[in-house]
Amino acid sequence: MMHYLDMGGFAAFIWPSYALSVLAITTLTVWVLRADRRAHDMLKRIEQGENRNRQAVSL
């Protein structure tokens, strides 16, 4: 266990490298998923609004 924390003395370089990579991956994932969700929700709302308008007009 200590070996992995120490990484032959290179811990200060290896762990930040991996941490940053994981951070980049998760941040990108969150950012992209959120943006997609937002666009999806907004589109849903607007399209439902349109449908309501059309129904109102046809009445």
Binding site: P16, L28, H40, L43, E50
Partner: protein, 247 residues
């Protein structure tokens, strides 16, 4: 093939089909990416034996090389998309190029940081103007310029085409830049300097490296498809709102 540049991008007939396909395959792509990345990271951190020369620091290779590979691969995709957009006016080509760029820039930045962290134990300094890292730095600047172009030009259709020209010019210049940086580096460095990333590639290294590279690639494709879908939705949103205001 419709080649109208006077009207706004033809709407969603094609992209609708595309969106349907994306919706189906997205979960699979995402799961595959997750598995590859998890497996790759674990393997690289805990299973790979330390290198004869570099010791444990060789592990950084497994996050540096895939990021560097992605930085180039994504730019290649941008160049191809740009070409397709200019020559064939495919409606999704612009979107494909635009959405890929920030992802490529992040990979490039990641490659630079991990490369720098790898360089310190190897050469004693965080930045030694190594040929490959220097080329990556210039690539990052080209990414920045490309993204900035998209922001600077207001009309999305025009922005897409003009950015495509820049992307293609950059694509032609990049091999030359790389060559010139290599040449410059060899001019100023004695040949005996240890080159980065050159442990003898035994199978013990090749396999986890391949898994990581594949994982990064599949992960990118997952993000890319998501971003394209988002962009298509945003454009649909904009066209609805525009119609509503004039309608």
């Amino acid at each position: 093939m419709k080649n109208d540049r006077s009207r706004p991008a033809p709407s969603l007939a094609n992209p609708k089909r595309f969106l349907e396909i994306v919706h189906v395959i997205l979960p699979w792509v995402g799961t595959l990416a997750g598995l590859l990345l998890l497996g790759g990271f674990y393997w690289a951190l805990f299973e790979v034996p330390p290198d004869y020369q570099q010791g444990e620091s060789v592990r950084i290779m497994f996050v540096h090389v895939p990021a560097a590979w992605m930085s180039l691969f994504v730019y290649g995709l941008i160049a191809v998309s740009s070409f397709v957009g200019l020559v064939f006016a495919h409606p999704l080509a612009d979107v494909a190029a635009k959405t890929a760029a920030p992802l490529g820039a992040v990979f490039t930045a990641l490659a630079l940081v991990t490369g720098s962290l790898w360089g310190k134990p190897m050469w004693g300094a965080y930045w030694v103007w190594d040929a490959r890292l220097t080329s990556e730095l210039i690539l990052l600047l080209i990414y920045f310029g490309y993204i900035a172009l998209w922001y600077a030009i207001e009309d999305p259709a025009r922005a897409g085409r003009v950015a495509a020209v820049f992307a293609l010019v950059g694509a032609v210049d990049l091999p030359i830049i790389h060559f010139s940086v290599n040449w410059w580096h060899s001019l100023h460095q004695p040949a005996s300097v240890l080159r980065m990333g050159a442990p003898t590639m035994s199978a013990a290294y090749l396999w986890p490296l391949g898994i990581m590279a594949l994982g990064y690639t599949v992960f990118f494709i997952w993000l890319w498809l998501l971003r394209i879908r988002t962009e298509v939705r945003k454009r649909r949103l904009r066209s609805i709102l525009l119609q509503g205001s004039t309608g």
